[in-house]
Point group: C2
Chain length 238, copies 2
DNA sequence: GACCGCTAAATGTCTGACCTTTAGGCTGGC
DNA sequence: GCCAGCCTAAAGGTCAGACATTTAGCGGTC
């Protein structure tokens, strides 16, 4: 049912196809709403509903004021990451994804990512990675530990040099972290995490891919146990 | 800027948060548009624009007629796959993702997927996998070869038993295939692809993960050369 | 008991008015 | 000559109300 029988869907689909086909390229401006009304022979509300759909898919961006209007948006990696994170969150909350699947997928991706990071990291990335590890756990607020942890994994993904890898892996990491760890993990747990991160960092500094992969694998196997324990606790509570 | 100063965004965000927080769970019905108008103190057009955003994010579904209305949608894996494919297509068309990154990411994912499939595939999946390989290339239309190829990889991903893995890998496969192969590859190329698929299938049938991984790796390395050749040809044309 | 059409509830669409934001130009003072 | 600040017009944002369309369920006719 391409386009259904609903006007706003037809308009949205037609515009989307034009954009995807490259007839309208990034940055280029779309006609004004009034012109689109004429072109499609529908009312302004219909056009606006179509534009809202496209803008929530990050295909167009709209600005107000004179010289405003809609233009084809340049999609950014972060946009994709955000959308994917939200989708996976939803899947995870409805048994569309089990904990085992999340962990497995993450291992499949982060281990190679660590290897790649070890062989490709720039000096600047290495510095940021170091900076992201706090000297001691005492010096950081427990509310921040969360962000510190995330930051380490994210810089590592960036250092892997593959933006697609980062785009698909960050959401997996992110979903697991918010789902399982916020306020549920002990101080000892975080101390161990930090020690393991330090090991990974060392291998990345030495540009030793194999070792980085091994350390990451070890790290994730350790996490797996914690996640599974928390998961079964959560389940029994319900 | 949470909510900006634009009414439809505020409404959409508020509803989205309620859905993500689980206050409204899957399948549950939202108030009618008229009721939402009252609740948010805005006009119907504003409510509708917000609902269009949510529906294009697959968060709600809307039905017409008596007893219709909007309800919280149960997100499906295919929805996520579709959205991700579109995003990656867009990234790939604007240098947000290079061919090298696509190939690399795909290798990183499909090789482990083949291993998992070899150890987990059901008899039924094995049968479908066999059925997806045509006896000889002559028997299939060149226009269908495309779909045959896709089908093999997709069933293999399904057999990996990890739905998240499939969700993130299928788009990578799909984008590369439509971008590079449609009408651009020779008959000899497809013959070789089919032979390599058969090798993979054999390892999967024997439940030999290592071998399945090796064959998949070999297969992808071969593809890499073809893709890179086509890519440089495409570039020089522009 | 099967079929048909009515009805009412809900979304879909249109119209036309007015509000708000914003770039750029105009004007006046220094 | 230049800067500040107002002014204006173009575009999206919002509103109100009417009418069209779809659809489930009800009820009556044969």
């Amino acid at each position: 049912m391409p386009g259904s029988h609903v006007a706003y869907l037809q308009v949205a689909n037609e515009l989307r196809e034009q954009i995807l086909a490259g007839e309208l390229s990034a940055g280029e401006r779309l006609p004004t709403e009034a012109e689109l009304c004429q072109r499609f022979g529908v009312s302004r509300s219909t056009i606006r509903e179509a534009l809202r759909m496209l803008s929530s898919q990050r295909l167009v961006a709209t600005r107000r004021g004179v010289g405003g209007g809609s233009s084809v948006a340049q999609i950014r990696h972060d946009d994709v990451t955000d959308m994917l994170r939200e989708s996976i969150e939803l899947l995870a909350s409805t048994e569309g994804a089990t904990v085992a699947e999340l962990i497995e997928a993450r291992e499949l991706l982060e281990v190679p990512a660590a290897r790649l990071a070890a062989s490709r990291r720039s000096e600047e990335q290495l510095e940021r990675l170091k900076a992201s590890l706090p000297g001691s756990l005492e010096s950081v607020d427990m509310r921040q530990i969360f962000e510190v942890n995330r930051s380490f994994h994210d810089i590592l993904l960036e250092a892997s040099g593959n933006r697609l890898l980062r785009v698909v892996t960050e959401p997996l990491f992110s979903v697991m972290q918010t789902r399982f760890l916020r306020d549920r993990a002990s101080r000892e747990f975080w101390q161990r995490v930090m020690r393991e991160h330090a090991k990974i960092l060392e291998a990345v500094e030495q540009r030793d891919p194999k070792q980085a992969g091994r350390e990451m694998e070890y790290h994730l196997v350790h996490l797996r146990a914690t996640y599974e324990a928390i998961d079964s606790r959560l389940r029994s509570e319900c």
